[in-house]
């Protein structure tokens, strides 16, 4: 065992930084060395490329949806084509982008490093999970190319089982397979976090990013199999006409809803928790303070994961569930807002009295805090029974979940990508351009989705492609906003690609942060650490760092 401590005694000089000669990117060459890799960092890159690809396909459908909604008349496409558009948009964005977004890219890359390990526990299963993801993606594209699906991403029965003759089975297969990719990611993370921590890396020294991914992994491992069986039953019912979900044969469509939302509500926390982890890291680094209430933030992740399993019925309030159970689920839904609020408050307290700087990741993090708060609070409205009856199936819902998923998770994803870009590639992104992109994204986002709250409140239903003319102004605003948002997403694509070749050399620790990942070279070696570190300090020990740097000098393993 090595005796090197990870204590940061001297921060490297950025101006003299050079690209390390040997790193995980140039360790081996050729396409095959990537396609057969076991290195968690390379798999993270594979994931990053693939989810970006699917994000843009999903985004194209969003663009088409908004284009259709520019005018009240159904003029761009026929109604069933429109149905296919929002179905594809939903399926791709949820299952192929948001669920894997932060865990499979940043989580894959960082969790072993943050724990002081050389890799995830099961590198082959990690690679397998990427192949499953790609297989799921291929089936999705097949469903699209063969003529589309129009069930909505929710596969509502008996619509999906009896009334549609589109490619439901193909899409169901896609989701089934992609589900196993996320099960394997979660399983790998949990085992790694339990078994691969470096000496001295106790549970309460782990970065909060690891905690939140741990919580999300619990949800992936316990929730996804239930989605899998629900989808198998849909496929069986559709193929053999059996009747588990078909009321005419004695089946219960609500059973499907229960099974589906038993996964899909926790899934929204799969989608947001890893993002919350990113925000903890970013906020602490750029206010140069330990995250306020570390333990509370850590436990709130686990609390969200646990409570998340007991609120699914709030998606079914208008579906004829018992009034008493609706009441209970309404109350439980309020409960789940508590740990989310704990996080927001603790981040706010971290900022207080911090030495705040406004680098791009921090701008996105601020965006997250504001937009996620709005998204979360409107979720509380929707959790209240009375409100929900009025607002469900309207654009209010659409606005709510886009505030959480796009305003929240997508912002967090971009914050994280910018924050760790120097670590992943060894180069900096262009700072002023990226600040511009962050601001454009924020403006575009609000312009797109704030009007939708009003539209929903006024009663515009979701999933229709025509609407009464009095809604047009707000819809035009929203479409205009979507265009701005599109620019906000294209910009990072371009300048991040540019920075791969022309970006300034980042050096080991451009943010002067305390995390283990910043104490190794950028981009890291395949083995991450020359010697396994011994951890002897808490996460985010910025105050201590400030005192120490004055005196001692050492390099770090």
């Amino acid at each position: 065992m090595s005796a090197t401590s990870t204590t940061i005694l001297n921060l490297p000089d950025q101006s003299t930084a050079t690209l390390p000669k040997k790193n995980y990117i140039n360790n081996e060459h050729g396409l095959l060395s990537w396609l057969l890799t076991g290195d968690h960092k390379r798999i993270a890159i594979l994931y990053l490329i693939s989810i970006t690809f699917f994000f843009f396909i999903g985004g194209a459908f969003a663009g088409l949806i908004r284009l259709e909604l520019l005018t009240p008349q159904p003029d761009l496409v026929a109604s069933d084509t429109y149905n296919k558009f929002f179905t594809m948009h939903g399926i791709i964005m949820i299952f192929l982008f948001l669920v894997p977004s932060v865990p499979a890219t940043l989580g894959n890359f960082l969790i072993p490093i943050m724990l002081g390990a050389k890799d995830l526990a099961f590198p082959k299963i990690n690679l397998l999970s990427w192949y499953l993801y790609m297989a799921g993606g291929t089936f999705t594209l097949a469903a699209l190319v063969l003529g589309g699906v129009d069930t909505g991403w929710t596969f509502t029965t008996p619509l999906s089982t009896h009334y549609l003759n589109t490619h439901v089975i193909t899409a169901a297969t896609a989701i089934f397979i992609a589900g196993f990719s996320s099960i394997f990611t979660g399983l790998n993370f949990i085992v790694t976090i339990h078994r691969m921590r470096a000496p001295g890396m106790t549970w309460f020294r782990m970065p909060l990013f690891v905690w939140s991914n741990y919580a999300a992994s619990i949800l992936m491992v316990l929730g996804t199999p239930v989605l899998a069986i629900a989808i198998v039953l849909v496929a069986l019912e559709r193929t053999f006409g059996i009747g588990v979900f078909d009321p005419t044969k004695g089946g219960d469509p609500l059973l499907f809803q229960h099974l589906f939302w038993f996964y899909s509500h926790p899934a929204v926390y799969i989608m947001i928790l890893p993002g919350m982890g990113v925000i903890s890291e970013v906020i602490s680094t750029f206010s140069r303070k330990r995250v306020f209430g570390y333990t509370a933030v850590a436990f709130s992740s686990v609390a969200i994961a646990l409570f998340g399993f007991f609120v699914w019925e709030h998606h079914m309030f208008i579906m004829g569930v018992s009034n008493y159970s609706a009441l209970v689920f309404s109350l439980l839904t309020m409960l789940v807002a508590v740990p989310s609020a704990i996080k927001i408050f603790n981040w706010a307290f971290t900022l207080q009295q911090g030495s705040i700087t406004f680098e791009t990741p921090m701008l996105y993090a601020f965006g997250f805090m504001g937009l996620f708060t709005i998204g979360g609070l409107t979720g509380v409205f929707l959790g209240s029974l009375g409100m929900d009856i009025h607002l469900t199936e309207t654009y209010f819902i659409v606005a709510h979940f886009h505030f959480v998923m796009v305003g929240g998770m997508l912002m967090a994803f971009l914050a994280g990508i910018h924050f760790w870009w120097p670590k992943m590639t060894g180069r900096m992104y262009p700072e002023s351009l990226s600040k511009l992109a962050a601001v454009i994204t924020f403006i575009g986002f609000n312009l797109t989705f704030l009007p939708q709250f009003i539209l929903g409140y006024l009663g515009m239903p979701r999933r229709y492609h025509a609407y009464p003319p009095e809604y047009q102004v707000l819809n035009v605003l929203s479409t205009a906003g979507a265009t701005v948002l599109g620019v906000g997403y294209l910009l990072p694509m371009l300048y991040l690609a540019w920075s791969l070749k022309y970006g300034a050399i980042a050096g080991n620790n451009p943010w002067q942060a305390t995390g283990l990942e910043w104490q190794i070279q950028s981009p890291p070696l395949t083995e991450n650490f020359i010697e396994i570190p011994i951890v002897d300090h808490e996460a985010y020990d910025y105050e201590w760092l400030e005192h120490k740097t004055k005196h001692e000098v050492t390099t770090v393993g």
Binding site: F122, I125, M196, L222, Q521, L525
Partner: protein, 247 residues
């Protein structure tokens, strides 16, 4: 940290005492590797529980709703065949456990033998299951267009007289049989995967891979195989036994 270095220098020398070729470089110790493997397997089994859980939930719901249909349909299943299969599967699990033991005490010949016995009993189980499925096919008890309800009569509690089910309730037996096929089918599917793995493990055991102290694959497969057994131990009473008697 920017100096080039090679794979070898990354592993501190004292870890080379690890003799097993199966030791993967990213684990510090063999012990850690073994623990990680079995922990991973347990987690995977947890996902399996959730997966089967969805069907058990459906069973619970419809058993409550269509109790009478479940009673008559359950009477169509053969207890002798089901019981035989239960015994066979327990036997298979028993040999699997012996196999793990044989691997641990490094007895190659015994290990191969026990794995073969495990496989044979597994195949026998599937054979009997096939016989049962075939019978359902002949009686038109497979849900769908050809489903035939004529054989469904209400078994009276004291065997005094039998009366036909109401036509409406008789149709609900389809739901029972659907669940029967879905649950036992999913179970059989897991057994088929297990048997394929058993072939592979037997072949490797024969090559001597597991008789030098590296037993993790055998242990972990053992966990899987026992899990599949346990699922059956729930399916057998739920489908064959508990609904037979109406009162």
């Amino acid at each position: 940290m920017t100096h080039p270095h090679t794979h070898e220098t990354a592993v501190p020398a004292e870890h080379h005492h690890v003799a097993l070729p199966q030791h993967r470089h990213h684990f510090e110790t063999e012990e850690q590797q073994r623990e990680a493997g079995s922990f991973g397997m347990w987690l995977f089994l947890l996902t399996e529980i959730m997966f089967f859980g969805g069907m058990f939930f459906a069973y619970l719901l419809y058993r409550n709703w269509y109790y009478d249909a479940f009673v008559v349909a359950s009477n169509q299943l053969s207890i002798p065949l089901g019981a035989t299969n239960t015994v066979i599967l327990i036997g298979s699990g028993f040999f699997m456990a012996l196999g793990v033991w044989a691997a641990e005490v490094k007895k190659k010949g015994l290990l191969v033998l026990f794995l073969i016995l495990t496989t044979l009993l597994g195949v026998a189980f599937l054979g009997i299951k096939g016989v049962e499925y075939h019978e359902k096919w002949e009686k038109h008890h497979i849900p769908g267009a050809h489903f035939d309800v004529s054989e469904f009569v209400n078994p009276h509690a004291y065997g005094l007289h039998e009366e036909p089910l109401s036509p409406d309730m008789a149709q609900k037996t389809q739901i029972f049989f659907f669940l029967y096929f879905a649950m036992t089918g999913m179970h059989a599917f897991h057994m088929i995967i297990g048997i394929v793995l058993l072939f592979w493990l037997t072949w490797r055991a024969h090559a001597g891979d597991f008789s030098k102290g590296y037993v993790a694959p055998i242990e972990n497969f053992g966990l899987y195989w026992h899990f599949v057994d346990i699922v059956w131990l729930f399916l057998f009473p739920l489908l064959y036994l508990i609904n037979r008697h109406p009162l």
